[in-house]
C-alpha cells in the first residue's frame, strides 16, 4: 500500500519489480519528457537516471523478487520535470554520494550516472504515522529496521529542468 496518493501526479506508471519491465517504463518516461520538454537531451538524461534508479529498486529494495510493485509518478511544473520512484521495499538508511568507484569495481556507478543526468535528487521514507528525513546525497537518516514490518513507501525524487 503506497502512502503517497497517485492523484499527486499528472501521470502514474506502474510495473512489477522484474528486470524485463524496466526498459519499457524508461522508454515511457523518455517519451513523456520529450513531449514536455521538446529536448531529446533532456529526455535521454531522464531515461538514463530512471534506469539506474529503478535498477536499484529491483536489486536492492526488492532483492530481485518479482512480486512487488514499482510506481513512478510524473508531473511537470513550468520548466521542471518531477519524477518520483516509489517502492515499498527495503529502505535506504543513507543516500549514497555520487562517487565514481575505481575501475576494477564492477558496480556502484549508478548514483554517479543519476547525479550527472538530473539537476537534483533526494529520498524519503514515509508511512501513515511517520515521515523520515529527506535525504540528500551523502545524507544519513533513521535506522529503518523498525519499518520492516510496517507499511511504508520509499520515494526517490528526480528533478530535471529544461
Amino acid at each position: 500500500m503506497l502512502a503517497k496518493p497517485k492523484s499527486d501526479y499528472d501521470i502514474t506508471l506502474t510495473i512489477r519489480s522484474e528486470v524485463e519491465q524496466i526498459s519499457l517504463l524508461c522508454e515511457a518516461l523518455h517519451a513523456l519528457c520529450l513531449y514536455a520538454s521538446g529536448s531529446a537531451e533532456c529526455a535521454f538524461a531522464v531515461q538514463q537516471a530512471a534506469a539506474e534508479a529503478i535498477n536499484n529498486v529491483v536489486e536492492h529494495a526488492y532483492h530481485n523478487q518479482p512480486d512487488n510493485e514499482i510506481v513512478v509518478g510524473w508531473y511537470q511544473e513550468e520548466r521542471q520535470i518531477h519524477i518520483d520512484i516509489l517502492d515499498t521495499g527495503l529502505s535506504m538508511v543513507r543516500l549514497p554520494k555520487p562517487i565514481l568507484p575505481d575501475f576494477e569495481a564492477e558496480s556502484s556507478r549508478g548514483w554517479w550516472i543519476i547525479n550527472a543526468s538530473v539537476d537534483k535528487y533526494f529520498y524519503q521514507t514515509i508511512c501513515d504515522t511517520f515521515a523520515g528525513p529527506v535525504l540528500h546525497p551523502g545524507g544519513i537518516g533513521t535506522d529503518f529496521k523498525v519499518l520492516e514490518n510496517i507499511p511504508h513507501t520509499n520515494i526517490l525524487t528526480l528533478l530535471k529542468r529544461f
Binding site: 524496466i22 526498459s23 538514463q48 575501475f103 576494477e104 564492477e106 558496480s107 556507478r109 550516472i113 550527472a116
Partner: protein, 112 residues
C-alpha cells in the same frame, strides 16, 4: 538485445544490438566469459547498434576486460554514440581500448 558472434582469423567478434541493460547483463556476461576463456586473446565487442546502455552493461564490460587482462589479451570496443557517452561519463574511456569502427578494430587486433 540480440547477440551475434563472428570470427575473423584469430579474432573473436561479438556484435550486440538493441538495449544492453540489466536484464541482458547475465547472458552477455556469460557469452563474453566463454569467448575470453576459449579464445586466443583477441576480442572485439561491437556495440555500434546498441541503442541504450546502463551501468550493468559497464559492469559486464569491465568483467570481460579484467578476464582478458589475466590472459594478457586485448579487448577492443566499438561504440554507438549513446554507448560512448556513458563510457565517457563513467571515465571508462581512459581504460578501455576503443576504435571508431569494426574495420579499424579488426586491423588493430590483427596487428597484435
Amino acid at each position: 538485445m540480440v547477440i551475434n558472434e563472428q570470427k575473423h582469423d584469430d579474432i573473436d567478434i561479438v556484435i550486440l544490438s538493441g538495449r544492453f541493460v540489466m536484464a541482458d547483463a547475465p547472458e552477455v556476461r556469460e557469452r563474453l566469459k566463454t569467448l575470453v576463456e576459449a579464445g586466443q586473446g583477441k576480442l572485439l565487442v561491437n556495440m555500434e547498434s546498441v541503442t541504450f546502455i546502463d551501468s550493468s552493461a559497464c559492469a559486464v564490460l569491465i568483467s570481460a576486460f579484467k578476464a582478458m587482462q589475466l590472459k594478457t589479451g586485448r579487448l577492443v570496443l566499438v561504440n554507438s554514440p549513446i554507448v560512448q557517452s556513458l563510457i565517457e561519463l563513467t571515465r571508462l574511456h581512459t581504460v578501455f581500448e576503443i576504435m571508431p569502427n569494426a574495420e579499424a578494430a579488426i586491423a588493430a587486433l590483427a596487428a597484435g
